[in-house]
């Protein structure tokens, strides 16, 4: 009986959702003509290159038009790490240190990881430095760097991460982001305003004012935070491994 009610309810909810999505035609041109913009998105597409000097419109939206959201998203990630750290925190006794859950891996995997590791990091850094020119950016590049560290964490049981360095990278990147925002406010503009660094020539590495700087900071922050999360999740108390 209970199941029937649940199914009936799900059907009702499903019907209304399908009905709602039917209003939005697939492949329909909802942007409107360039002269008659119907959506905010059309404005971004028509004006970004000229007004921000950034070739990648998506980056301009993420870092500049909606940069305040990105600051929030970065904070969400920061909080996830902090919260995980507080929930999985344990007091270490004298002389006791954390161990990894993973078993010792094969020689093949270890050698392969060692060779791949620098290249993965390089790719990640490339992706976030070129965020304003090519697809990808701080979040994607940061995630790639974190996978590089994940590779090492899985391959080497005794691979140690410097928690101090992670904290420093994380905090300094966050401080950079907020300070750049505040600088706009101090110089008389608005928070996160892209006005105090020259925009440069379009499509070159040094273009777009504060946009690439913020995206590089985001890249460092995401990399440090995801690596921290992986490290917390992969380490457990020594006593539990023996059982």
């Amino acid at each position: 009986m209970k199941n029937i009610i649940v199914i009936a309810l799900l059907l009702v909810v499903g019907f209304y959702l399908v009905d709602s999505f039917n209003y939005i035609k697939f492949g329909d041109n909802r942007l409107g003509a360039p002269s008659d913009e119907k959506t905010v998105g059309a404005y971004y597409l028509n004006n970004t290159v000229e007004k921000t000097g950034v070739a990648n419109v998506i980056t301009a939206i993420i870092v500049n038009y909606r940069g305040f959201d990105t600051l929030g998203e970065v904070t969400v990630l920061f909080l996830a790490t902090t919260g995980l750290g507080s929930i999985l925190y344990r007091r270490r006794k004298e002389g006791e240190h954390e161990e990894r859950v993973t078993k010792e891996s094969s020689y093949l995997l270890q050698t392969g990881s060692k060779i791949l590791f620098p290249f993965v990091i390089l790719l990640g850094i490339y992706v976030f430095i070129h965020g304003h020119l090519t697809p990808g950016g701080g979040f994607q590049g940061g995630a790639i760097v974190a996978t590089g560290f994940l590779l090492m964490l899985i391959a080497y049981k005794n691979f140690k991460l410097g928690h101090n360095q992670l904290t420093w990278v994380e905090s300094l990147a966050g401080i950079t982001f907020v300070s750049i925002g505040m600088w706009g406010l101090i110089t008389g503009g608005t928070f996160l305003e892209n006005s105090f660094i020259p925009k440069g020539t379009l499509n070159s590495l040094f273009s777009g004012g504060i946009i690439p700087i913020i995206y590089i900071a985001v890249g460092f922050k995401v990399a440090a935070e995801l690596t921290g999360v992986l490290d917390i999740l992969l380490s457990i108390k020594p006593s539990k491994i023996k059982k």
Binding site: Y44, D69, V76, L84, S171
Partner: protein, 495 residues
Amino acid sequence: MVISPVHYIAVPLLAAFVIPLFAKLNREFVRIIPGIVLLYLSYVSIVLMNQVSSTGTISEVLAGWAPPFGINLVFSAFSGFLASLMTFMGLVIWIYSYRFKKIDDEPALKFYVLFLMLITGAIGIVLTGDIFNLFVFLEIVGISAYSLTSFYRNRDGAEAGFKYLLLGAFASTLILLGIILLYSSIGTLNMADIAQKSHLIPTSLKVSIFILFVVGFGIEAEMFPLNGWAPDAYSQAPGPVGAAFSGIAVKAGMYVIIRLIYTLFDIEGSFQFLIVMGLITTIIAEVSAMKQTNLKRMLAYSSIGQMGIVMVAFGIGTREAIIAGLFLMLNHAIIKGLLFLSSSYLVYNDDNKLISSLSGLGKRLPLVSFLFALGAFAIVGLPPFSGFWSRLYLLLAAADKELIYLIAIILIIAVIEIVYYFRVINKLYFKDIKVKSDDVQKPSINAVISMSILGILIIAIGIYPDLVTSYLGNAADALLDKAGYIENVLVDINN
């Protein structure tokens, strides 16, 4: 640098990123920095509230892009009132938790960062003028709230945190789906722009979006039947966090529901919907509160019931009713805050937090018991405390609209509240002493200060309600003035 609403967000975020570094110099910075930030924000609140009352709503553009292309913050008399209230409650709760022993035994650094972000997220929800930005701040509130709920890392705390996490993640999904539908139908995320264009959305789609939002934010605002997380979370979270949930986080969820109904969507029957949901919420919660043996759970159910009454007040929809609703929110924040803070010391050493263990504590902890009793008298609406005036305004507003059944139900609920609060007071003062004097935890000096601030405020507002009513009147006018809101935000576009 001119003081502007973005300081509410930028300064705490900067502090949150700085705290881990300063903690390496001296552990004391971890506790002090949030206090400095909250003090500064209180100063910002005072400056901005004065500015609003003299020059009107402040709409701040961010990143140099005028809305609807960029994100903006709106500091009106209404949102500013809530933001100031949250800042004030944050400051009081910070004073209380400074060197709170149970927190200092744990990783205190994480507690203060999460606590500061909970307040920042809630203030962000209230101030932002962009619906996706609102979603981001909801995530910030959510993630800090889940972690704070299970801060003590025991079995029950983990269960409560996980329950909250599941419900909260479900809520986020629904809200995101609603935002996607909204954006694909009118192509904008700015709330003023949505309010302007919402008549272009087909009605059935609009109702679907509205329901997705109400269910999503209803979880945060403790609306029945979406409040399953609340009793567990309140009873397992550290004492100051319970006060922060009821005084800060829940207010933010309620704000969004009010904003949706008053500004964003014109949907026929949404006011009646609010009254009905509020009544169901409050009746079920108050009846459940009577049955509780756990003091914190009883307060949690009482908190849900209060939010139900706030919903009813906003459902009536007249200017007087909005003033009553805002007054109820203010009272709920300070009185429930006082009750949660004082009850933490009453059940300090009892893991089950049983009401029966309070027997005779009135003699062992005279000041804490007195403040708890003061809060209990105020929340049931006895004169001359502040709770009396908000109840009175609500009854007058209901009488103006000739909603006789509402008056009857509100009065019956007041009787139920008296029954279960006075049961606790009876235990405190008129039963034999069971506990030895060594078993009780004496409150620290800062806890006494913070609780006394709230207690004095309750009495002061009770004697001079005019202290706040002018602010409340301005706030109600700002909420009702939908055209003014749109015009203020979209000033460059329409001209």
